[in-house]
């Protein structure tokens, strides 16, 4: 899919030349082992890098320049995958050929290099005022999860199940570490990021591969580096088991159930487990949707997700809290049915077709191409979409039965309304 070029040790460039889009998409990803403190530093760093640069030293100056460049998108982001944290610096600009009067691509490459290499500093550190404001912004983002009860419940489930693992660390950091940050600490995180992190640069669009490679190489000139590796933890942590119920002022009950599985990303069983999750609750034809929603009318949504990097499957459903036990039982029954081998040929072929469609469809956006390739590229044997789809093809009902046997319920978490709101129910 992508042409790979090693720019220097620890820095790789991936280019995909395509006429599919009217824009060029750039993403520069900095990768380091995930810790709560590091994530906090980098979440604020990402915001500071998005605010301004040396050349455009205020938020409005930078944003005005972007507007003038036909609304070139420029943003930073943080995320996590397995035991690693990612800070990405991204841009998307209109293909020059559609506009004619400007050299937008060159401008965008220069902007990205400015953002990464020539930030907006004062006496060698980030400006106090910008730092304070962005720290506040990240703190507010972290706190606002409280307002989104579904996300809050999912985060609580992960924290309860894996209190010490990367599963429960948020990519945007944690309040206690964010509060303790200083401009100097974030500056130090910036230095480490640019000199020590593993870097992957992605470009998608109608580019000349050689020209863009030369221009990025010239613009960035990163030094070689030996990326840090997250030590494998043998102990997966001892989180809570059984049931936990918590109350907030709300109407709907948020039922989140966590299952653990030894089948991880990249193992031989991984494609089979993707299918098993799809049959369990991944699609509108799945067992959860058909039984919890359609047959029992208990929920608007009832779905499962496979967090393959963490060996977890989580189920979430929005229900009337009084029916939590009934819903839990119903969800258990779906898994029990799978363990008993109750998987029809229809379910199996639907799920294969849907997974294949989902993968091919995701590749119809430039960001999707980058995300999917980046996720799968290090698998043994490399990655092509059709190659991966071929791995689902031979999976049988018997394989699914076996996979279902490797999914163990660990924790049932229910977030629901306080007693006094019970009379509001219709």
């Amino acid at each position: 899919m992508f042409t790979e070029t090693r720019l220097t040790q620890g820095v790789r460039l991936y280019v995909r030349r395509t006429e599919q889009f009217k824009t060029l998409t750039f993403s520069i990803r900095f990768k380091q082992p995930l810790t709560a403190e590091g994530a906090s530093e980098r979440a604020v760093l990402a915001n500071i890098l998005e605010d301004s640069t040396e050349a455009y030293p205020s938020r409005s100056a930078l944003r005005q320049a972007l507007e003038g460049m036909y609304g070139t998108l420029y943003y930073t982001d943080v995320g996590k995958r397995g035991g690693y944290h990612y800070l990405s610096v991204n841009a998307e600009c209109v293909d020059d050929r559609l506009i004619r009067d400007e050299d937008i691509t060159d401008w965008t490459v220069r902007l990205l290099a400015d953002a990464v290499l020539r930030p907006n500093l004062e006496d060698g550190v980030f400006k106090q005022q910008i730092f304070e404001r962005e720290k506040q912004t990240v703190l507010e983002r972290v706190r606002s999860i409280y307002d989104d009860k579904t996300r809050y419940a999912q985060q609580r489930l992960l924290t309860l199940m894996r209190p010490d693992g990367p599963e429960s660390i948020r990519a945007t950091g944690e309040e206690v570490f964010l509060e303790a940050l200083t401009p100097e600490k974030v500056m130090e995180a910036y230095r480490r990021m640019t000199s020590e992190d593993e870097i992957e640069i992605y470009v998608v669009g109608a580019v000349d591969e050689e020209a863009i490679t030369a221009s990025l190489k010239e613009a960035f000139r990163f030094e070689g580096r030996v990326p840090a590796v997250q030590p494998e933890k043998a102990d997966r942590g001892t989180g809570r088991e059984g049931r936990v119920s918590e109350k907030q002022n709300m109407k709907q009950g948020k039922l989140h159930i966590g299952f653990s599985t030894p089948v991880m990303f990249g193992t031989a069983d991984f494609p089979k487990m993707q299918l098993a999750n799809g049959i369990f609750g991944g699609f509108p034809h799945s067992k959860l949707f058909m039984n919890v929603r359609e047959k029992e009318s208990m929920a608007y949504y009832a779905a499962s997700s496979y967090l393959s990097r963490y060996g977890l499957i989580t189920v979430s459903a929005g229900i009337d809290a009084d029916l939590a036990d009934k819903a839990t039982k119903l969800i258990d029954e779906q898994l029990a049915a799978m363990r008993a081998g109750e998987i029809t040929d229809t379910e199996l072929s639907q799920t294969k077709a849907m997974l294949a469609n989902q993968l091919r469809e995701a590749l119809d956006s430039s960001r999707g191409q980058i995300e999917i390739f980046d996720q799968y590229k290090d698998l043994p044997g490399g990655f092509t979409p059709e190659g991966w789809i071929a791995k689902w093809e031979p999976v049988t009902a018997d394989d699914i039965r076996e996979m279902a046997g490797k999914i163990d319920r660990q924790l049932v978490y229910l977030l629901s309304g306080k007693e006094e709101s019970a009379d509001e129910k219709a």
Binding site: G71, D147, S297, N357, Q358
Partner: protein
């Protein structure tokens, strides 16, 4: 079949109106693996008073019925339509807005079986009292889910306060009470009135051969019989431009208050290019007042009055238009005041010039080009514009025709003090 070339954006659109009145548009996109096909009726949550097909008298149907009908279309005598799309590897969905109900799928295989399934399931209603009753549990949970979403409540609370009677003030899904009154007969009545092909539009975009697809849809429709089309008579209340309620609030379990300023606006004056120009003028004016490079945004962000949740919205459909501006804010009164002050400041002496317009114009042209990467955007927005008598592909032409005068014109209704409301979602007074 008509072929329409849009050379500025490098796209070719194919169009035909079928004998039964159905509008079909096809836009092939090279390099795409998927095809996105939507089948939309010009019928949404606001269409609650109308003369049913073949009748003489106006009826009023329960709130939330268009959305309820959308859910029920997926259930047939022989099972669930999602199952069939699943067999064909297509991901199917539907949504209901104020003025439209859309059914759609996207697929990378089995394009024609999926297209047939889409056309056939939307054109074969099947409702029984039993299945209608069963759906009430599911939609009841959907409504309850939205009840717990503070951003949704703040947005709808604002619209609700802007309007005295217009049904845009009613939540699209209705209430648990209103949907309890829905019967299978209601659904058939709405279906027969609003799902006539002459009130509908098909858009296919992505990996598709226009000749083949057109002839497939043509044959599919020719094999079905429909009543003669009748003009649909809907009734909407007259609204004054004044906001119904000036101020409102709601307590919810949130970490920080949310405040929204709503502005009730006159519906767009024209269709076609003029209408599109006016809509873009509103959008650009709102960006100049509140966008990321505005004086307001720069100050409010630095003062900590707004955060990343800050947003502006402009909605215009036939018969109504409004704008909502808001954010999470520790100081909701101060923020609401600043949003209002910005309007006073702009109306005293028009603060923007040709440079500002040129920059926003460029930004919008770029935004439009980028949006054309998305097949979903193309189908949904094209359909929306078509139902409002406009053409999505006129966007660049309309942007290039805009003058500073057009911005000045739309500032007048935006700054009408009587047309405003402020709505706040507050954490409980006694703490969490």
């Amino acid at each position: 079949m008509k072929k329409l070339e849009y050379s500025r954006v490098n796209e070719t659109l194919y169009h035909e109106t079928l004998p039964n009145g159905l509008q079909v548009f096809i836009l092939p996109k090279s390099g795409f693996s998927k095809t996105y096909v939507s089948f939309t009726t010009r019928y949404g949550s606001i269409d609650n008073i109308f003369i049913p097909l073949g009748k003489q008298e106006m009826v009023r149907v329960p709130d939330g019925i268009a959305h309820f009908l959308e859910h029920k279309m997926f259930e047939k005598e022989d099972g669930d339509v999602f199952q069939k799309f699943g067999m064909n590897g297509a991901s199917a969905n539907a949504f209901t807005s104020f003025t439209r109900t859309a059914y759609l799928f996207s697929a990378t295989e089995n394009l024609y079986p999926n297209t047939e399934l889409l056309l056939d399931f939307v054109q074969a209603p099947y409702f029984t009292e039993e299945t209608v009753e069963k759906e009430k549990g599911i939609i009841g949970q959907e409504i309850t889910m939205y009840d717990d979403l503070p951003d949704w409540r703040a947005y709808f609370g604002t619209i609700e306060n802007l309007y005295r009677e217009h049904p845009v003030k009613i939540d699209i899904a209705g209430t648990v009470e209103s949907i309890s009154r829905i019967t299978a007969d209601h659904l058939y009545e709405c279906y027969h009135t609003f799902y006539h092909p002459s009130n509908m539009l098909v858009f296919a975009v992505g990996a598709v051969d226009p000749e083949e697809m057109m002839s497939f849809i043509r044959d599919n429709q020719a094999a079905k019989t429909f009543d003669q089309p009748e003009r649909i008579v809907r009734q909407f209340p007259q609204e004054k431009m004044e906001a119904a309620v000036k101020e409102g609030s709601l307590e919810m379990d949130v970490s920080k208050p949310k405040v929204h300023v709503g502005i009730k606006l006159p519906a767009l004056a024209d269709e076609g290019l003029e209408g599109l120009k006016q809509e873009l003028a509103y959008q650009i004016m709102i960006d100049l007042l509140y966008g990321k490079t505005s004086k307001f945004y720069t100050e409010a962000y630095e003062e900590g009055l707004i955060d990343e949740s800050f947003s502006t919205d402009f909605t215009a459909e036939e018969g109504f238009a409004f704008s909502v501006i808001g954010s999470d804010s520790a100081e909701p009164e101060k923020l609401a005041q600043k949003i209002r002050d910005t309007l006073e400041w702009a109306s005293e002496k028009f603060p923007f010039g040709q440079d500002d317009l040129d920059r926003q114009r460029r930004r919008r042209i770029g935004f439009f080009m980028r949006a054309l990467n998305s097949v979903e955007y193309i189908a949904n927005q094209f359909t929306r514009y078509a139902f409002n008598g406009m053409n999505l592909f006129d966007t660049v032409t309309a942007l290039e025709a805009l003058e500073v005068k057009d911005l000045q014109d739309v500032l007048v209704p935006l700054t009408d003090e009587k047309a405003r409301t402020v709505f706040t979602v507050k954490p409980p007074a006694n703490g969490k």
